[in-house]
Symmetry: C2
DNA sequence: TCTATTATGGATGTCAAGGTCCGCTTGTCG
DNA sequence: CGACAAGCGGACCTTGACATCCATAATAGA
């Protein structure tokens, strides 16, 4: 449904959002989110280039969110690392000027629905503060202590 | 979003549904749907094993639908060749007895929505008869003649 | 029965995603 | 300045999806 890379990116972003701007190193993020550190480094590079995250080199460096969690949607993160593609013209026809055939119309509407769903969830919505009264940590991994 | 293989399977199924039970060879299906013939053969095998399609060997053989188009949904086809996976437990936690964390709850609800959308479109819905008044053929490929 | 036709199944090839490694650059701090 | 701590970027490996090819089994028709 969404790629492994997008999953990793989301875990990292949610973790960063929970750390109130204190830079977190790739190692730290990797441990908490259970993402292979070497690969996470690549993913974070991508998020950095897209401007979702700030990178700070050197001692006490690391990554921090570059966008307020309330203004960052799950869709933003997914699109940054592994874009969902709407079906704009039928994969067969050269007839791109026409509307989609019934099949691809349905398929595209499913994609549209996913866009809408993910686009209406901000990262802030996923944080503990937004879920008071529930004993959940923002990431499943953090729940294993209980 | 959905795999190439699922896309191929859907094209083939829609084409077969439009042919009212006359068996179509892999070659015929491949030409109309613009799917690599060799690969389509594999895909059709899968559909056959899942019982969505009947295979007939020998002269005048080929494939035909094994399920009435009105009783076959787009989701059925997708699940047969390349199953959509709901997120049942968080990919991190060993805490599978708990409810999903907020992030994976949202992601799963997106998958659920796709299931619902594709599950409510039957193959019959995609056929020309169901779309009278519109000049569309069931597959985009067939539209290139105009 | 023989032959042409068609699906079947296995071996193999190709390519991009996922993942690892390591040397380089940028930065902090003493 | 030197030493260390981080991210950066390129080379490389692995795996699975997509795709090809061919020998074989099943079937219809002469």
């Amino acid at each position: 449904m969404i790629s492994q890379t997008a999953e990793y990116a989301l875990r990292a972003i949610v973790f960063l959002a929970d750390q109130s701007d204190a830079p977190q190193t790739t190692q730290q993020i990797a441990e908490v989110t259970r993402v292979p550190a070497g690969y996470l480094a690549k993913v974070m590079q991508g998020l950095s280039r897209c401007g979702l995250v700030r990178a700070q080199r050197g001692l006490h460096g690391g990554f921090s969110l570059a966008v307020p969690p309330k203004e960052l949607t799950v869709l933003d993160v997914v699109q940054a690392v592994d874009p969902l593609r709407r079906i704009e013209h039928c994969p067969l026809g050269i007839s791109s000027h026409r509307s989609l055939c019934p099949l691809h119309g349905r398929l595209d509407s499913a994609v549209a629905l996913v866009e809408k769903t993910l686009g209406s969830s901000t990262i802030a919505d996923l944080l503990p503060d937004a879920n008071r009264g529930r004993p959940l940590k923002p990431l499943c991994s953090l729940a294993q202590e209980g």
